[in-house]
């Protein structure tokens, strides 16, 4: 490409052709008007709102999951406490004393005291 042809190409898009009004050329420049801007802003705000709502809903759904896990934890703790009580009852002195094993034990005279 020669220098002159490159100038010609460069002018092609930026300068009006012969016989075309320079003022008319300027009014053809593309730009968003105030209504478009407003609509775009509203759409953007709506998008952001939707995004926020989606996040809030998602987070709240975790609340249900947390609640469910906490209920499970409580249930397991109660089960553990019940088992501890059952274990303690099984080892209670009266129960041990009255057990078949205890009844079958043979009494031995103590050696530490004089009878």
């Amino acid at each position: 490409m020669t220098y002159s042809s490159s100038l010609a190409l460069g002018r092609k898009g930026n300068y009006p052709s012969r016989g075309v009004s320079g003022v008319a050329f300027n009014t053809r420049e593309h730009a968003f008007g105030p209504i478009s801007n407003s609509i775009i802003l509203i759409v953007l705000a709506c998008c952001l709102g939707l995004l926020y709502l989606a996040q809030v809903t998602k987070t709240n759904a975790f609340g249900y999951q947390i609640n469910s896990l906490q209920q499970e934890q409580t249930r397991l703790n109660e089960r553990h406490a019940d088992l501890e009580v059952a274990s303690a009852r099984l080892q209670a002195l009266d129960r041990v004393q009255n057990s078949e094993v205890a009844k079958s034990l043979v009494s031995v005279a103590p050696t530490a005291t004089v009878q």
Partner: protein
Amino acid sequence: MTPTSNPVTRIWWVYAVVVFIMAVFGVRLFYLQVIRHDYYVQAAQSDQLKEYEITPTRGIIKAHDGSRVVPIVLNQKLYTLYADPTLVKDSGRVAETLAASLGGTIGDYENKLDTPDTRYVVLAKKLNQDQKEKILRHKYPGVGASEQFYRTHPNGVLAAQLLGFVNGEGKGAYGIEQALNKELDGTPGRLKAITDINGVPLAANKDNTLVPAISGDDVLLTVDVAMQKQLETILQQGLEAAKAESGSALIMDPTSGAILAMANLPTYNPDDYAAVEDSKVFNNAAVSDSLEVGSVMKPLTVAAALDLGVVKVDTSYFDPSVWEIDDYKIKNVEEDGGAGQHTIGDILSLSLNTGATWLLMQMSDKGGTEVNKQGRQRWYEYATNHYRLGQATGIEQGYEDEGYMPEPDKGYGLNLTYANTVFGQGMRATPLQMAAAFSAIVNGGTYYQPRLVDQLIAQNGKVTTKKPVVLRSGVVSDGVSRDIRGLLNNVIAKRQFKRRFDLNTYSVGGKTGTAEIAKPGGGYFDNQFNGMYVGFVGGDMPQYVITVRVNQPKIGGYAGTVAAQPIFAEVVHMLIDDFGVTPKGR
């Protein structure tokens, strides 16, 4: 062209209307969101924001079982089954299910379910989860269950008064539960959150706050459950033999003040405390019911006289067998052998009231055969400051009784009153106070605060071990303590027991007490007595101190000898046989 037909004008009109409508909305929104902001926030929060108190889990109580640690008080969630009779459709079928699952008769349940004019009847209490689910899975209309936490005692009545219970308001009553209510109770938590319609907290709220509840501390007692069980059995048998309705006994470690067992009869089941008719049964009488202790006071009197240096262990004196003080006669109630020369040892082995009174006379610089102010003051100093009588020991129990020791300078008939106090009348002390003071005179002279708590275990695992607390050292000198042990050994050696002690291997000492019982209006009952025994068992040093109290035995003889002493002897044998008393020389 009319103005309305102009398109531009029409647009402007439409525009104006739209702007106006928007303005109306804007103004309304401004009013609602700005001016009425606080009101609507509050209204919304009252529906959505819930605040819950999170109840902390009450700490459990544990005790020693030899080298093991076992829980003796736990928590259990139980259910109350209720019904709204107006909603129950088939009461016969519901009653059948209840009777089959829970026991009881169908008729009883039907009567409850058909109760008119009420919307709430309790069908059953204290159901466990399985029982509850067995009923609720039928989904009978009008039948439901509510949960409630209860304290549960796997060993039933064991150590009931020592433990106490938790009342309907969730507060500890009597015993350890009352004394350590703050530690056991924990700190409530708080949950403040926006919730959905079912009350489930929603996570996405910056104002949600959760302060977790802090569970109460677990408490490990110094008590050994096996020793406690045996002590209760021996006390029960002893009271039956003495035909007595009530009594107490305790075993203390004299080298630390730790209570190893403490029993009272009659007793009750803390799981069913509401069934008790006489609230006196709730009291730990060994701690909260003082009495005139009788002659078990004499070892303390002898120790004070020896420590003051007014007599020596081998001192002998002439005992007239009766003293006249303030126009009243002080006499002996047990076999004293009559007037004659006696030793300090005789004051204990023959339980001479006149001998103890003579010691009080010697406590003044003048000596002689009169009780005077200086003698009273010196004895008061020993009784209250050395032996700490007349003041609570501070043991971890509800309603501890301070007892009573008369002041030496206030009132009338002080010489007679003080002559009585040296053999345990005219004053009051609890069995626990006597055990603590007795421990001090036989352990070398250190008064340890009696205690029931070995450890506090926080929920984060932090263990706080309670160390022995010395409330007074030098109660008596080490030499006096040695002399007292020897004198008390002699008391045992001279007594007859159903089962003899191997005194070559073990050191056993003690003293009986038979105390008159004061009448409410003054004076004493002629035919009612309380029996006491305070003694020790060990090897070279006392290992266990034992106190026994038997209230008003109905068999003949002196209450201390016939009722309390046999119980003491059985306890000593039990300790030697089962709890490894260290023999002499080891």
